[in-house]
């Protein structure tokens, strides 16, 4: 009984994680970037399992037309509404979830974007503060790996790789 309660208490969750992606090409006169403030994220401190889920339509662009093109032409969000990461913090044993501090972690797992799944390994940090933890990471994604085509017409604006910055504040459940 005690064991199971303890296990249950070691899950952390949020639905308001943040992702910014930046696919601005070097020569582009305008920024190709978007913010998503509705990232769902759950972490099991016991096993190190971690899941991120995000609705593609929740990405906000500064220019509405860009947002429409992003959904309709690049991500096809009507067909593939979600992006998802399912993985594991390989060195989760190094993180002391009951002691405040910032820990470097490595996360490996499966990233699904545009209905294409790839294995990824990314570095990140976990900051423990009382009952909350903050997970942060930044990594690059090659758009071609996820069958997202950049037409030559916009090649001078949209980069073939995008930088994904993630910040998620989870609270204990």
């Amino acid at each position: 009984m005690l064991g199971s309660t303890a296990l249950f208490a070691q899950k952390y969750m949020t639905r308001t994680g943040k992702i910014i992606f930046d696919a601005t090409s070097k020569k582009s006169p305008e920024k190709i970037e978007a913010i998503n403030n509705e990232v769902a994220n759950i972490l099991d401190a016991q096993s190190g399992d971690i899941i991120f889920q995000v609705l593609i339509k929740s990405f906000k662009f500064e220019k509405e037309l860009m947002q429409e093109h992003f959904n309709e032409n690049y991500m096809e969000s009507d067909k593939y509404p979600k992006a998802e990461f399912k993985g594991n913090i390989t060195n989760h044993a190094d993180v002391n979830f009951s002691k405040d501090g910032t820990y470097n972690v490595n996360v490996t797992g499966k990233l699904t974007i545009h209905n294409v799944t790839n294995d990824v390994t990314v570095p990140g940090t976990i900051t423990v503060k009382g009952n909350t933890i903050m997970a942060k990471t930044r990594f690059s994604v090659v758009l071609k790996d996820y069958k997202i085509e950049i037409p030559s017409l916009v090649a001078d604006k949209v980069s073939t790789t995008t930088t994904i910055t993630l910040e998620s504040n989870l609270t204990q459940k």
Binding site: R15, D49, D78
Partner: protein, 311 residues
């Protein structure tokens, strides 16, 4: 027995090794799914632009978006004296603005009849993936003809109200799938002044428009306004025809370029619905284009004040 026990031990061992992470993933997944906010899944991009060709589509500009439009229609394509219409063009310049995501307004000036117009478009219902099957909008417009007043033989004054026209429309559209969208547009155009007392001041028409997406960035469009009443109305003594237009929408980075052929050279509802004096049957059609360039005037809240990246 020993064998059985061994087997049992082995299988539990392998189970305990293999299953936990899957089972745990699933339970994490369930926790994440449970209590996830139910999102109404709106259908977006029924049309590429706020106009199908001449008439309004159910698309609105987003909040804080300004659209500068240049609508251009060349003269009759069979008019060889005017270089196949190139020398005889009509233009409308317009500014549209999204006040909220469901309300947009616009003003415009057309060369033809020196017409100034203003409109307001309100989105009333929005099509959803499951649930609401259509998008419904209202479009209301007023236009003022500003050509110099004619000299009246009796010495009467030319009333200002003679210059006014009103349009009321419902826009009922459905995006059937990725590539097909259709719109019905019941319309009443009120003409304060018509050619003769024989004609009604109101023309009731039904518009049907649609688009077929042929690639991610190109769509074929069509639009027809059929007049249910007042179809015999003359304009400046000339017979009038229903307006039929076909076009292509081409999406480039920052704007949508619309190319079309239409028997109407006029660019406001009152002209193309009731005062189209050219006919496809005589080849008196007009090549034209709409250029729309959008500017974000008010940034979305996510982009205000805060730096867009952080460390």
């Amino acid at each position: 027995m020993l064998f059985m026990r061994k087997f049992f031990l082995l299988s539990t061992l392998s189970l305990s090794l293999a299953i936990p992470s899957f089972a745990q993933m699933d339970s994490l997944m369930n926790m994440l799914d449970k209590g996830a906010p139910a999102k109404k899944d709106d259908v977006s991009a029924t049309f590429k632009a706020t106009r199908i060709i001449n008439g309004s589509s159910v698309e609105n500009l987003g909040f804080g978006v300004l659209d500068f439009r240049i609508d251009h229609r060349f003269g009759d394509i069979n008019d060889s004296k005017n270089f196949f219409g190139i020398d005889d063009a009509e233009t409308k310049l317009a500014l549209d603005y999204g006040i909220t995501k469901w309300l947009m307004v616009g003003i415009g000036h057309s060369v033809f009849n020196k017409e100034d117009d203003g409109f307001l478009k309100v989105k009333i219902l929005k099509q959803e993936k499951t649930g609401m099957p259509i998008t419904l909008s209202y479009n209301g417009a007023i236009s003022i003809q500003t050509t110099p007043a004619p000299t009246l033989p009796s010495g009467d004054t030319w009333e200002f109200s003679n210059r006014l026209y009103y349009t009321n429309q419902l826009l009922i559209a459905r995006k059937f799938n990725d590539w097909l969208s259709l719109q019905l547009t019941p319309t009443i155009v009120h003409y304060n002044l018509v050619d003769s007392t024989k004609f009604s001041n109101n023309t009731i028409a039904i518009g049907i428009g649609g688009r077929i997406k042929v690639s991610k960035r190109i769509a074929i469009t069509g639009e027809y306004f059929y007049r249910l009443t007042n179809a015999d109305m003359l304009y400046s003594g000339q017979k009038t025809y229903n307006c039929l237009s076909i076009g292509v929408d081409i999406e480039t980075g920052g704007h949508v370029f619309q190319l079309m052929l239409s028997n109407s050279q006029g660019l406001t509802e009152r002209t193309f619905i009731g005062q189209t004096t050219d006919s496809w049957s005589t080849g008196a059609i007009h090549l034209g284009f709409n250029i729309s360039r959008v500017f974000t005037v008010v940034k979305p809240k996510e982009f205000r004040n805060t730096p867009t990246s952080w460390e």
